[in-house]
């Protein structure tokens, strides 16, 4: 890790063990990498749970697990993917990239940053320890009351609650940290409307977390009181209201969907312009659409409750219909960015285009659910499972992998192998469609979600078998990625500072950047300061062909 030691904090010369360094670091880049590593480990764990779920559903009959284990598996899969994989993946990317992209030396509160991270593995271990104490939580990631009350569920649910209190607190602290960093630590010249789109999406996401997560943590705390001290908040048997839980949960839960997709959209909006050799089309409209999604996101939560008979349907139907519009604007922006560009298809760009083509389905199959009567038919069926996976797997996870391939050279000074990357991409794209698309059809045929088994007479067997095959394709697709990381980290660190001919400030420092990031910054006069430096005002017009990582084989 040869870096120029220029920053004041790096002058201490005594050596510490690498382990001690990583355990005590407050460097946003190291914490970012810790976040990403931790998320990836939980991603593997949640993926294993998913494989057991899919294996159980491949054919009728209970072959591998009984129904109460099955309920624990999908509960832990969902909770882990949302709270320990997707959220921290995005927080990790934000941690790594945001200070670099705005020309800051670190996050505003480095030690709080470390605290936010270390709560996550602790929370994850607590939640999974339920498996050793009479069974993990088994009420789904939504944990509806009264099912989540003590008389219907075991102590795994208490561990689930405590873990989510920790993780929720971690997110709240993290969001405050991001907001303080973005508002106070931008480099001179980096006005709000010159910030990279990714930074904007992290900012809006942080606002959403700050407003929504306290409602959720209060809710789970109330559930804890219900379960252990007779709180009677959500249990109708003692005068509580189960719908209150659903309102609290979804007041957080729906903004959570945008918390999980906006930064991935931000990643895509970094990758597509760089690999199309054009600026993002309609920067201001894109920012406006992001803000609109954030704002409208707080008025749509009850569309998860259309079938409860306890919701004023037209209002939430209208707001939910409208929230499709800003997402549509973004799609047109991305396509217009590629339009008449000179696109090269290195792996980050492949995942970005993969994001566009699969996330589109997650947008459309969700938009139709804004209609309450259609929702009466499709709610709680496999249609919903298809929708959530097209959004979170086809969307967020493709964004996360695009980011991983894009920023890996910055993090470690070496580029991941393109060939292995392409294998990863192709397998993951095929696996995603084969696994999740047939779920729409099962939903239309009436297969409810969260069932451990189904009757052979139901006619759902063939599609389920296909989905199970698809899930194993996804699992296999992760192997070339892991091998790629392993091999690349053992190889030479020769990526250079700016392997993609990038636009934003992180490419203006070394790879990896030194502690405190920059010794000098280029002037910032647009949202693409580095592009201006390289191409602006009579500088060269030609693209560098050799140093640009994108290769011609990718384009032919």
């Amino acid at each position: 890790m040869a870096t120029t030691v220029l920053a004041p904090g790096a002058t201490r010369t005594y050596r510490r063990s690498v382990l001690y360094e990583w355990l005590t670091t407050t460097d946003h880049k190291k914490i970012g990498i810790l976040y990403l590593t931790n998320s990836f480990l939980f991603f593997l764990l949640a993926g294993l749970l998913a494989l057991v779920i899919r294996s159980e559903l491949a054919v009728p009959g209970l072959q591998f697990v009984n129904s109460s284990t099955y309920n624990q598996l999908f509960t832990m899969h969902g909770t882990t993917m949302i709270f320990l994989v997707l959220m921290p993946f995005l927080a990790g990317l934000g941690n790594y990239a945001v200070p670099l992209q705005i020309g800051a030396a670190d996050m505003a509160f480095p030690r709080i940053n470390a605290l936010s991270f270390w709560m996550l593995p602790l929370g994850g271990i607590l939640m999974f320890s339920g498996f050793f104490f009479g069974g993990a939580a088994a009420e789904g990631w939504t944990s509806y009351s009264p099912l989540a009350q003590a008389k219907y569920s075991g102590s795994g649910t208490d561990l689930w609650i405590v873990a989510l209190l920790l993780i929720g607190t971690s997110s709240i602290l993290g969001s405050i940290n991001f907001l303080a960093t973005i508002f106070k630590l931008r480099a001179p010249g980096m006005t709000l409307l010159r910030m990279p789109v990714f930074v904007w999406t992290v900012m809006v996401t942080s606002l959403l977390i700050l407003l929504a997560t306290p409602v959720f943590t209060s809710g789970v705390f109330m559930l804890y009181i219900d379960r252990n001290f007779g709180g009677a908040f959500f249990d109708p048997a003692s005068g509580g209201n189960p719908i209150l839980w659903q309102n609290l949960f979804w007041f957080f839960g729906h903004p959570e969907v945008y918390i999980l997709i906006l930064p991935a959209m931000g990643v895509i909006s970094e990758v597509i312009p760089v690999f199309s050799r054009k600026p993002i089309f309609g920067y201001k409209a894109f920012i406006f659409a992001t803000l609109l999604i954030g704002g409208l996101g707080f008025s749509v939560w009850a569309h998860h409750m259309f079938t409860t008979g306890a919701v004023y349907l037209p209002f939430f139907s209208l707001t939910t219909s409208l929230i499709g519009v800003p997402t549509g604007i973004k799609f047109f922006n991305w396509i217009a960015t590629m339009w008449r560009g000179k696109i090269s298809f290195a792996t980050p760009m492949l995942f970005a285009v993969g994001f566009l083509s699969t996330f589109l389905v997650g947008g459309l199959d969700g938009a139709i659910l804004a209609s309450p009567p259609v929702d009466f038919a499709l709610h709680d069926t496999y249609w919903i499972v298809a929708h959530i996976h097209f959004v979170f797997f086809g969307g967020t996870m493709f964004g996360v992998f695009a980011a991983a391939y894009y920023w890996f050279p910055k993090m470690f000074g070496a580029r991941l192998d393109e060939g292995l990357g392409k294998i990863h991409f192709v397998l993951m794209l095929i696996g995603t469609w084969v696994t999740f698309f047939p779920m729409h059809l099962l939903g239309l045929e009436g297969m409810p979600r969260r069932i451990a088994d189904y009757s052979p007479a139901a006619g759902w067997t063939d599609l389920n078998t296909v989905e199970t095959i698809g899930s194993f394709i996804i699992a296999i697709s992760v192997l070339p990625f892991m091998w790629n990381v392993f091999v690349t980290l053992r190889g030479p660190r020769d990526a250079g500072d700016d392997p993609w001919d990038g636009y934003t400030l992180e490419w203006a420092t070394t790879s990896p950047p030194p502690p405190y990031n920059f010794d000098h910054l280029p002037p910032i006069r647009s949202e693409r300061p580095l592009f201006d430096l390289k191409y602006g005002h009579g500088a060269r017009r030609a693209l560098p062909s050799a140093s640009v990582a994108t290769t011609q084989e990718g384009a032919s």
Binding site: S67, L147, V325, F331, F376
Partner: protein, 341 residues
Amino acid sequence: MAGLAGVVLLLGGCSALYPPNAASSQGADIRTLYSIFMVPMIAIFVLVEGLIVWSVLRYRRRKGDDELPVQTHGNNLLEITWTVLPTLLVLVLFFVSWQTLNKVDAEPANPAVTVDVTGFQWQWTFAYPQYNLSYTGIGDQGPVLVLPVDEVIHVRLHSNDVIHSFYVPDFLFKRDVIPGQVNNFDLNLKDAGVTYTGQCAQLCGMGHYQMRFTVQTMTPAGFQAWVQTEQAKAKATPAPAAGGQAGPTLQLSASSTTRFDESTLSAPAGQPFTVQLTNKTAGAPHNFSIKDASGKVLFTGLPLAQPGQTVSYSVPALPAGTYTFFCSVHPTNMTGTLTVK
């Protein structure tokens, strides 16, 4: 030939994108609405995927092309267009969907038949208050809901414990069954003599996947005849004999829907005995039944012990051996060993 096969495949694939033909008029309205939504959905899907594929193919960087493309930052006219048109589209769809919602949720004043549906872990009870008839599900297929066609049916949903959801895929409809809140909906069925399967759609615990039921439709006349027969049958069934208990009495209780409080019982061989079942569960009925090692049911205890009740079941003499006792309402998880010696 291949082209024909392709067209058939395409049509087959397309019809799979639509829900089944609805059994109820409300479901038919929902299906129509779904079809209306699918037109712009498919159009947008084809348009956007087409634009993506076109951009990827047409604007890829070619060998030796080292010139920077034109740096377009935006286009107000375009951006306004692709903001306003989608807004108009979703507003139109919202209003169309609102109209259908009003039709689906309409509840005419005088329904012909009212059904009280009660969900509990993990069975259903279907009761007809007009006719004093009630059916609680037993076994893994659950109860049968008999309904007339061509008449307005009013369904009221009650829960005794956790949240369930009453869902019949062929109705294209579900509604949650929530404790402390009675939900309603109305239904007009079309075809007589048809059987539809339904099941709980809201996760309600370990037996959720087995919480099934069946809907059986009849002509209005057939339905009335069925009601007469069932009422006569109910009168003919004697009330459970109080007192007259033969042989030793075994105590059994159930505090939850997951298992009996006792996992083993023993009874004398060749002699009738009595099982006194105390139901301490808040929401669900139980009973005491016996099957042999081959799974053949030898005894089914009726009536069910309702929550809070204690019911005595007189069991006929059994030869020595090991049997399984179980609750017919929760047959997979509430089991125990009965030793007869």
